[in-house]
Subunit: 420 residues, 4 copies
């Protein structure tokens, strides 16, 4: 591994590349883009890519939007050319006619984005470019077509095979840790002290995926608590004065928070691979761990209760638990999938509903969105593949009997509600 | 950089992934491929990808060829579906119709290859798969269509933005160094002692590009000698008892060997970026370097002389030099490009013909292929971009006056010979 | 460097060494110490060392004090044995008689401490042991004899040749950074935000010495500001809204804080080597830096003014500046050295008094101890050796003319005051 | 660990320290040594240390010998001063009188060596200096006194607590591997190919101790074969076409070669700690390993047989085995220790004689020195401490019954032979 770690230390150290200011600045970014698409060789392309990256950084939102429209409209595919190329290929299939079709069927902007990526640090800028696009262009269907191209390329570049899982600890660099603080999306980290409590004790773990060309930017991270039984309340799990469990004494790993970090990578899914890898790594490091569960919110439950005109507090614990089970197992969207987005994610990964806890998240957000209820999804390696196949094929929600029985007695069939 | 080097140390350390033998072994690789293309979620896909990678490793050449044909024919594009999708898009352009067209226009094998890449270590296997394809399928036009897909994907994955330049030295890991010995394609390295002579003295340098997911496989490397003037003979440059020049005293960097390492990455061009980066890095490290030149063979010169029925030895030094200049500047292929492949490469990078040397490579290969002549191509940063543009636009070969004058007097116009 | 960084990654990873609890716990630490001194071979010694380190950790202050007395008294030298051994050596000098004398002249506790150091992590514990000794035993002259042994050994172990200079940045591990916050002794760092302001901007630098066996414990660190002229006020230098100077534009490096970190290494001097190394490194990295100065307090000035019955505020700027110059250049301790401890340190390193600034530190501590005055000591490489020799030989304080002239007019000879 | 590996990467990177040639060159090394001993502060000392290191490198053997005599004689202890200081201390024990005695009792050359060590790279030069001393001065008893000082300081600097164990593999840097080839002292490595056979297969391991300030110089290394039962022949163990055992299938670790690398560290013992650490690490990594044994030569056996006028070949297998057992268990030196040096080492570590093999080393050296016989010494963790104590206390050689019985029948008492 010495070789690898050494060799990568230079990724961003491309020295001697600080470029003299060029008169390209005066040139419109669209002109540079046209030149770059047309550039004959690698040399010209790389230099234009650097110009264009630099130019993009200077654009304001209005100019970015103009630029995105240029990409979407001017560098679009030509149906006419495509039909011509596919006919030619069909008539006489050959390497040449096939490649001619490939070129015709792919909009020039895809090649533009690939060529841009030759500039040092370009990948991060391109991810930011897509974040800009999603921020500015959501309402414009033409721009969402451009977004499809970004997504197509990023799915290839950020393929699981290129990602690296790294533990995040109190010994990690501060500039990474401040991003963990900033990106935590489930249970906010309110200070360095709070962060430390989640990283330093021996019964806490954190892992993140990175891409080699963006070593300072986590893509997704997961926070884990090692416990002696399945956790039932997020506030207890994170309590300040709690007793630390020694690594050896723990038997359960609780995944209590998963956060995506990059707006520009929306729709590129890392969560399944992350959990799979973390379960595998923890199993090797701590062979005494027997149970891998989440402690998850039910962010659609509150709204669902409102829709049903059910009162959250008036029901009593048992009733609320029963409603929660019903919601998880039976409330479906128009496509027949679970209404709850977190449930869709974990069930889609092959997890099963293991338990439900009332008063498990008493934070304002927890009460508002999940009516204070939290779920344990169980990741049980031997069953995951089968669970996943059944869930994908039939929409069947795998659940422990104790949960299943909660909603079995006299439960009326629930009409499905609108897709979210 | 600490973060990066650390984080990458785990790329191949995906632990806990040693997989139990599955009954998939019995299953045909084509069946697995079909399942993988159809897999609904990441989980199923990753597991199938691992199966399929394992299965591929066990195939013999005949089975590989069958498998390639399956990819080329069965997982091919459907003109019918493409026409349908492009019409639908034209009629009603939207994200959905655009993505439907993208899916239709891309053969299923491309998605298959991307999904395969999720398995640990898959990239290296896929590069090997393409090497197999080029070895076994060169004669079959259908398979060369499949090769276009590989090349398309690899151009994206092995984009300059993802590559890492690393110095190779006598302190590099032995398992990398033995690959340098094996892959050296220009002036063979015949022992560890010979290798050491090229790496350890302070007037020698070596650099290679790596991709983070293949840390043990150089993609391309370049060998450099630091000298006090432009080198004129490869045997002198590599002589055993030569005097070592102190780094401070050198004024010239001589690139005397560039070798591509991966048959499976044929056609993905790294050479230009490599030279550009090495010139930039050396300029920073050794600011006293004033001249960057190659000492290159003319591998087409011998054959060209034969074609012309010119004798190599009978001509005398001056005559041979003049013929060499003529060959370099005026012998063109049917596309109007220089007949010599090495000349095409360096001139295409923006270098210029700086000097020619007779009796410069007296090895059997040197005498046979280049008639003993070697060329210095000059990489002069301020002129490279302009040179490249002129060469690309008009085919003009930039050359020093001393070379130009060699072929100017009474030189008959040379008929172009067939493309190589 | 790959080899080194790799090889050291394992220093604290001595695996498989978690030791079963032994019945040694019941044994008195003095008994273990006696066994360890007498242990015949490495194996027995290492195991006893581990026992004893563990035992020491469990002692309370009273037991530590008893243990220190045991070391000081029982494991002391024997004048009788020494006289015997030196006589024998004088009579018949040989390797044997010389080594016998060496053994006799060294108290057994020194060998004990060396043997203790074989246990994993022992060095850090031993440094802590000396910190305990200095805390608990200052008043007991016998224990200060024991301290001489610690200091003798530590001077050898923490020799400059074994230390490593490392930049501290916002990319450093959080567990190191929290120690920087804790150990800053000159201008307190009050939050992570404050720390970040001192590390992240491109015109700030920080460096620390580490010892390889204590990789998580800085020994001493220095904070540097890059500026466009010599800084004249610590509050301006650290102001929140200040303009950041680009690295290229800076011409001066200002050392504004040096902090020793380890109480147990008191008297082992690192400051001179640290400044020397940082000046050398910055000169290479930023060749445009022309001036290396400190911005230092005068921590004895306030007390000196009080002794003289001079009022701090009543004097006016010019008068205070003149008094400060007089204090720096002429106030001496009984040994003839400058009265001010910070002056002694920098002048002893070969620096010279470059300038003085009134109202330069308006913090409560700055006003109280230094009457708000700060000094620039200039580190001018070509003169440092000569300055140092003159200062050591004659006590001459090198100072700029502007400072010298401040105290030249009608200055009465100052009586020296008691040594501090 | 990131912090550590990072921080150490700079040990030898002390930049800006390339020193201008000084006129000190003309000065005699003895003068510089005197100045260095007398230097008042760290600054002067470090600069003189650098001068002196440089000067030493230029000395020829005769000059080195003169210099060693100067150290031995001129910078020696003064019995007169020592008696004076110990009397003063006895009369009035205090920190001051104690430190005065410490200074008097230590020869000035020890402080000189410590100060020399402040120069960059000095430790390696000092180790080389002692190697020179042992090479040139063995016959001069005064110089052997100087050697005692080196050894005393090196024992402290190369304390186990400062050493780092590192695996050596085919992925290790070539410049380290060539030292492994050079330093192998037991079973010579005759080529890179031979080295590779000992490092690359999965049933081979190699480990070395390093000191952080000499990262390119192994101090000692050990070669290990993983096998399925105790190895009985070195030639079989190293045979070219042998079947590789998978790591999982192995149950035994065979230590078949241990080599010290640094002549200048003679007498500083690393072997015991090395074996202890390697046993511990392998036990963690490969928990299925049940047996840890050596396959060792008996380098004194041949000579002993000669002394006894016993013929090696004439005896037959059984007889030779019996003689070997007798030699190991009963042949003692004048101090009552085993005559065989390898036996002394392993028995002193707490190992026991496990088995003996005839025709186990058929190399010329093996036949000559060990009469072809090899020994397995067993490292059995639970018994090692007890074995070691018994061996140290009584000289009892622990041996398996099968070995003990070999020499029990009718064995005459052997007269001890002279110490080696």
């Amino acid at each position: 591994m010495t070789m690898l770690s050494g060799l990568l230390a230079t990724i961003f150290e491309r020295r001697g590349e600080r470029r003299a200011p060029t008169n390209k600045r005066a040139q419109d970014i669209e002109d540079i883009a046209r030149d770059l698409v047309a550039a004959p060789g690698d040399g010209a392309a790389q230099s234009l890519a650097e110009d264009m990256i630099e130019r993009y950084r200077e654009l304001d939102d209005a100019a970015k939007l103009r630029f995105f429209r240029f990409l979407a409209v001017t560098l679009n595919i030509s149906p006419q050319a495509i039909r011509h190329a596919i006919n030619a290929y069909e008539e006489s299939p050959s390497r040449e006619s096939y490649e001619a079709f490939m070129r015709a069927s792919e909009p020039a902007r895809q090649e533009l984005i690939r060529r841009l990526n030759q500039a040092p640090g370009a990948t991060e800028v391109l991810v930011g470019m897509r974040a800009d696009l999603l921020r500015l262009g959501r309402m414009d269907p033409r721009l969402m077509i451009l977004d499809s191209d970004f997504r197509h390329l990023f799915a290839s570049w950020f393929n699981r095979g290129f990602l690296v899982l790294r533990p995040i600890s109190w010994e990690s660099p501060a500039h990474i840790l401040e991003k963990i603080i900033a990106y935590e999306a489930v249970h906010a980290i309110d200070s360095w002290h709070d962060l430390r409590r989640r990283l330093e004790p021996e019964d806490r773990r954190c892992f993140a995926f990175f891409h080699p060309v963006m070593p300072n930017e986590p893509l997704i991270f997961i926070e884990v608590a090692l416990t002696q039984s399945v956790a039932t309340s997020i506030q207890s799990l994170l309590a300040d004065g709690r007793t630390v469990v020694s690594s050896e004494a723990s038997d359960t790993a609780v995944f209590y928070s998963i956060s995506n970090c990059q707006a520009g990578l929306a729709g590129i899914s890392f969560g399944h691979s992350l959990i799979k890898q973390v379960v595998a790594d923890l199993s090797v490091d701590l062979p005494q761990l027997k149970t891998f569960v989440t402690l998850s919110p039910m962010p659609g439950f509150g709204a669902w209760l409102d829709t049903k005109h059910l009162e959250r507090d008036g029901e009593g614990c048992a009733a609320l638990r029963s409603l929660a089970a019903t919601y998880l197992l039976h409330a479906k969207d128009s496509a027949g999938r679970p209404l709850d987005p977190v449930a869709r994610f974990h069930l889609g990964n092959g997890a099963e509903v293991h338990d439900l806890h009332v008063d498990a998240d008493t934070s304002p957000t927890g009460l508002h969105r999940s009516a204070g209820v939290m779920v344990n999804y169980l990741y049980d390696a031997p069953n995951m593949k089968r669970n996943q196949e059944r869930f994908t094929a039939s929409g069947d929600v795998m659940a422990a009997d104790r949960i299943r029985s909660l909603c079995s007695v006299g439960e009326p069939v629930l009409e499905t509600v609108g897709a979210r």
